[in-house]
């Protein structure tokens, strides 16, 4: 095509096919829920290279934990993966309890397990709902958000808060399950079954959905292991590793459940693994409720647990006990411990070091989605720009946990 004479010096025609374009996607992009930046190198619409930048939500979690007492870390752990805060609470409590060498009550273990599994369902709902929405399946988001909301109602009935629960303590939990909890679970699960069935129909065999998901973001078994992926990402690649089975904590060894795995390691498998896990979580909750023992949900060790308010206000011993625990904190013996729990995104590990004072010397979180983001580059190269969205969604990066 001939150019107008006045443009001749201004436009230098070049072959667009061998030009590498650089594109900065984010840090605020409508399809990346969570603040990340992708520095892309593109050949047309194909991704040649991709540099992932994280850290926009860094609040210094590990540093702040060193400033307060052990108990004061619990509110911070809520804000790691805020789609499933109960699991983070439980993980941190278990780590400190192991360092102290104490064990919680039998009922407390069951209650923690039930709430962890409810949280796992809400987390998967958030991930799959948002993921489907970003592919255009708005209906699924609304269905799943509704389901998540009535599960949040359950969490609220137990902990008093929807998201920032701060519900575990060293030695137990603050609130027992309410009396009508089993009935509430039954009615919620009846509605949940309906939502899951609807979403399954809407997505699992949907041609558009499968075309967008299958074969995208593939990682082989060896790559997934090497990159330290865990949870649904690792299981989608065919490795049946679940902390609940491999290193059981709480009472998971008494529960019967399966670990869903995929075989291709692509986004569709990741979706499927998450979807199946919700059914397994339901199964675990039903079993736990059927065998739920009676008893307290908190131990009574005065060196660990706050005394009852009645004692604090009416006796000098109670008051002193309370004052010492609040001002000095729990005296955790010097040492270190690594405690992993299976969070919704994978192995959530707490490596804690105590120097024997009442304050944590070092609190390290092993964030599962941070490792997932580390492998994003590998998953994306060779794919197209729209595939970023599906792959990113199936990693389920949660800013609070990834950037801490």
């Amino acid at each position: 095509m001939a150019l107008p004479a006045r443009w001749k010096d201004k436009i230098v025609p070049s072959d667009p096919s061998d030009e590498i374009m650089e594109l900065q996607m984010g840090p605020s992009h409508p399809t990346t829920h969570g603040t990340i930046k992708l520095n892309l190198k593109l050949d047309g619409e194909r991704i040649v290279d991709c540099d992932v930048e994280v850290g926009f939500l860094h609040r210094g979690f590990e540093k702040m934990c060193e400033q307060g007492t052990w108990t004061q870390c619990f509110p911070y752990t809520d804000r790691l993966n805020y789609a499933s805060p109960c699991i983070n609470n439980v993980g941190f409590a278990l780590a400190v309890e192991r360092l102290l060498g104490i064990d919680t009550t039998e009922r407390c273990k069951y209650v923690r397990l039930i709430m962890s599994e409810v949280s796992r369902i809400t987390d998967h709902m958030t991930c799959l709902g948002a993921g489907a929405m970003e592919m255009g399946a708005q209906t699924v988001l609304f269905y799943m958000m509704e389901a998540r909301e009535f599960l949040y109602d359950l969490i609220e009935a137990v902990t008093g808060a929807r998201v920032t629960v701060t519900w575990c303590r060293v030695g137990g939990v603050t609130h027992d399950l309410p009396a009508d909890f089993t009935d509430r679970i039954k009615s919620s699960f009846a509605r949940l079954d309906q939502v899951l069935a609807d979403c399954d129909k809407l997505l699992s065999r949907n041609r558009i959905f499968i075309d967008r998901m299958a074969g995208i973001g593939k990682l082989s078994k060896q790559e997934a292991i090497s990159y330290g992926l865990s949870g649904p990402l690792l299981r989608a690649a065919g490795v049946s590793y679940d902390v609940r089975k491999a290193h059981p904590y709480l009472v998971y060894d008494r529960m019967e459940f399966e670990v869903p795995t995929g075989d291709r390691g692509d986004n569709y498998d990741r979706f499927n693994v998450r979807f199946q896990e919700m059914y397994q979580s339901k199964r675990i909750i039903e079993q736990a409720l059927a065998t739920l023992p009676e008893g307290p949900v908190m131990i009574t060790d005065p060196g660990v647990v706050l005394p009852e308010k009645q004692k604090v206000y009416n006796s000098i011993e109670g008051l002193m006990n309370h004052f010492k625990l609040i001002m000095e904190g729990i005296h955790v013996p010097a040492g270190e411990v690594y405690q992993a729990v299976e969070a919704a995104n994978g192995e959530l590990g707490f490596y804690i070091v105590s120097d024997g004072s009442g304050r944590p010397y070092r609190v390290r979180v092993r964030p599962p989605c941070f490792l997932g983001m580390g492998a994003l580059n590998k998953m994306l190269i060779g794919h197209m720009i729209p595939d970023i969205i599906t792959t990113f969604d199936m990693i389920n990066m949660v800013g609070g946990e990834c950037d801490r």
Binding site: V54, Y227, A375
Partner: protein, 166 residues
């Protein structure tokens, strides 16, 4: 069990071995760390194919000052160990294990960012959570938790109230 096996297999590499709270911790020699890790990964007796975590702990009054802590896991054999390397505060470096586990890439970058430990042989060692112009390493004990380094100048709305132009 692992302690005996590892002690039998290795000699001078292991400086200290402990078993506390059912967790086995080995402190190893910095110079020979890479070969030690490669043996842990590749030898079928150990088969530590999964690098769970890399982090550090700062002990300013101790010598050596830093402990670089690796958590290893074997998905096939189901055992875990923790490996530590003592690192001097004046010249904090260890060998990178990116060649052995891909996960080490980001984990080592974070450890460098937070503690300033240099991982020799890392292909792309730069900050990951903090921004490039950030000064210091925030998880060191001598970095005050209240120190601020804003990129955009912070304005205190009480001292300098925002007034409308009218």
């Amino acid at each position: 069990m692992l302690i005996e096996k590892l002690k039998a297999r290795f000699g001078g590499e292991i400086l200290d071995a402990q078993n506390a709270r059912d967790e086995e911790t080995f402190t190893i020699d910095r110079e020979r760390a890479y070969d030690f890790f490669r043996a842990l990964r590749d030898e079928p007796d150990f088969d530590f194919n999964f690098l769970t975590d890399v982090t550090a702990v700062d002990w300013p009054e101790r010598k050596p000052r830093f402990e670089v802590v690796y958590q290893l896991n074997s998905l096939t054999r189901g055992h875990r160990i923790r490996v530590k390397i003592g690192v001097d505060g004046a010249d904090p470096w260890v060998h990178s294990v990116v060649g052995l586990w891909g996960a080490a890439d980001w984990l080592e970058r974070e450890c460098f960012d937070m503690f300033g430990i240099v991982f020799k042989g890392h292909p792309d060692l730069r900050r990951i959570l903090m921004y490039d112009s950030f000064e210091g390493h925030p998880l060191r004990k001598d970095y005050h938790y209240n120190k601020r380094q804003p990129i955009v100048p912070e304005i205190d709305p009480v001292v300098n109230p925002i007034r409308s132009s009218r």
